[in-house]
């Protein structure tokens, strides 16, 4: 397969993603961690006696907001939009009657969405890190943590978007499925003991982060079924990365497979 169709889809959908009004709302949501960081930092500087550790605050923001909320939300909306928007708005006909294979179409749009989301999420994480750690930028361990956080957020975006792209290709109520999955399944099952937690993507993402002990980042979840808060039993990093890559490939591959086989009828 030549790269040209893929790239042209990529360019085209990147423009449409940037143009959409809804995108602006999601950009606003992604800026929230930065605002949060500014507020907290001002507060910290104003009352130095309270001993708030910038790194602790940062890890709270990453775990509580970016990973368990922002990434899920953005991937869910942009992932399902890849096909559902074209079908709902009946615009699928235009790309479908161009010399672009359906695989290239899905992968191009997927890549456009993912790269846009990565820019959003990673930029806002890095900026909040810089703000919160402004006074201790030489602290090496902090940079290591930042690196691992970015990896977790990045893999999360890539993997979840692939999953929801797949969901969008064949589920009519893909959003409902996605919300159940994100805030019902992922948010709860990741705290289950033993093997069960390995059935969530979040488990592998958290395995990328260092020393996640019981409850860190947990209490600011939904608080749902609190008695279930058991400790995480991390998977080795290499295994986690391999699992995430495989999952992403499987989801994206299935999405392409479903999309090139399915006929999309607009309700006429």
């Amino acid at each position: 397969m030549s790269m040209a169709p893929f790239l042209s889809v990529y360019r085209f959908s990147a423009k449409i993603v940037r143009r959409s009004k809804r995108t602006k709302v999601f950009i606003a949501v992604s800026v929230l961690p930065v605002i949060l960081a500014v507020v907290l930092q001002i507060n910290r500087l104003a009352s130095p006696g309270r001993g708030l550790d910038g790194l602790a605050v940062f890890s709270n923001v990453v775990m509580g907001f970016c990973l368990q909320f922002l990434v899920l939300l953005l991937s869910l909306f942009f992932g399902t939009s890849i096909t559902a928007d074209e079908v709902d708005n009946k615009t699928l006909t235009y790309p479908a009657t161009r010399p672009v294979s359906k695989t290239a179409f899905i992968l191009g749009k997927y890549a456009a969405s993912v790269s846009f989301l990565l820019v959003l999420v990673l930029t806002s994480t890095v900026v909040s890190f810089l703000i919160l750690m402004a006074d201790r930028l030489s602290y090496g361990a902090a940079w290591a943590f930042l690196g691992k956080s970015l990896a977790a957020l990045g893999f999360g975006t890539i993997c979840y978007t692939a999953l929801f792209t797949l969901a969008g290709t064949f589920l009519k109520k893909s959003i409902l499925f996605g919300l159940f999955f994100c805030f019902g399944w992922e948010n709860v099952v990741q705290y289950f003991p033993g093997t069960t937690q390995k059935f969530t993507i979040m488990h592998y993402l958290k395995s990328l982060l260092p020393g996640m002990e019981a409850g860190v980042g947990g209490t600011e979840g939904t608080g749902l079924l609190k008695f279930l808060l058991f400790r995480q039993e991390p998977t080795p990093v290499v295994t986690a990365v391999i699992t995430l890559v495989i999952l992403t490939a499987v989801f994206a591959g299935l999405a392409c497979w479903v999309f090139s086989r399915k006929e999309y009828l607009f309700d006429e």
Binding site: V29, N43, G64, I175, L176, L179, T195, E220, T222
Partner: protein, 251 residues
């Protein structure tokens, strides 16, 4: 002093046949151990039910599933002119949509409450329960109505923001969890209970505790939570009045 044998050791247990496939279920068994209190109905039971985040999550799913399209679908399919070419006011239209959603939400709130009371009366065989807690029916009815109204208006507000129900659904969940996540972060850092006022969920739980006579989780007067939630409802009404226009600017 005993010296442990080094190297290979025997295993003292006995084998019971392969059970590996059921490992997952075993995990669940562990979790459900709290369920034996199930039929122990008393005010605390009501407090637990109405204040549980599980109930709120289920309500949220109903809102996403059947509420997100209420107005967004009408906007998408241009049905508003059909409604308003009838002798119908905006408030009739909104009222109808509100009623439809509130009905489903009351199924989750009011109906179980009534069932609990009936079960209790049935098993106890006397009305002593009601005599002991005469305020209880009023409390849970009042609370059911309040929370259902709040969520209905909240849903209608977000559903009227666009023609896309998926977008409305995402917004509904996003706004809800966002407020909660923010609360979690701020509270986790500052340990200041007043932050519970920024979380929709915490406000609801504070208020449910106040309605059902339990001790609120945070030491913040319930009236503030009430004011915050009421403000959201008022804002919803104002936005709905602006958003539901019969005639749009034609191309």
């Amino acid at each position: 002093m005993a010296i442990a044998e080094r190297g290979y050791t025997h295993w003292p247990g006995s084998l019971e046949g392969g059970r590996r496939p059921w490992r997952v279920l075993e995990d669940f068994q562990e979790m459900l151990k709290g369920a034996d209190k199930f039929l122990h109905i008393n005010p605390a039971y009501f407090q637990a039910y109405y204040g549980s985040s599980f109930l709120i999550f289920m309500m949220l799913m109903i809102m996403v599933g059947s509420g997100s399209g209420l107005i967004a679908d009408d906007l998408r399919h241009n049905s508003l002119p059909l409604y308003f070419s009838r002798p119908l006011r905006k408030r009739d239209y909104v009222g109808g949509k509100f009623g439809a959603l509130a009905f489903f939400l009351l199924l989750l709130t009011l109906v179980p409450g009534i069932l609990f009371i009936l079960l209790k009366l049935l098993f106890a065989g006397s009305f002593a329960f009601l005599a002991d807690y005469p305020w209880l029916p009023f409390s849970f009815i009042g609370w059911s109505v309040f929370i259902s109204s709040f969520f209905s208006l909240y849903t209608l507000l977000l559903s009227s923001l666009g023609r896309n129900r998926r977008y409305a659904a995402i917004l509904m969940v996003a706004a809800y969890f966002l407020s909660d996540v923010f609360f979690g972060i701020f509270y986790g850092i500052f340990h200041e209970p007043a932050f519970c006022l920024i979380s929709v969920q915490m406000n609801l739980r504070q208020l449910s505790a106040a309605f059902l006579g339990a001790k609120p989780q945070f030491d913040v007067p319930w009236i503030y939570s009430f004011l915050v939630l009421s403000a959201v409802m008022v804002a919803a009404v104002l936005v709905l009045r602006r958003k539901i226009r019969v005639a749009e600017v034609i191309r």
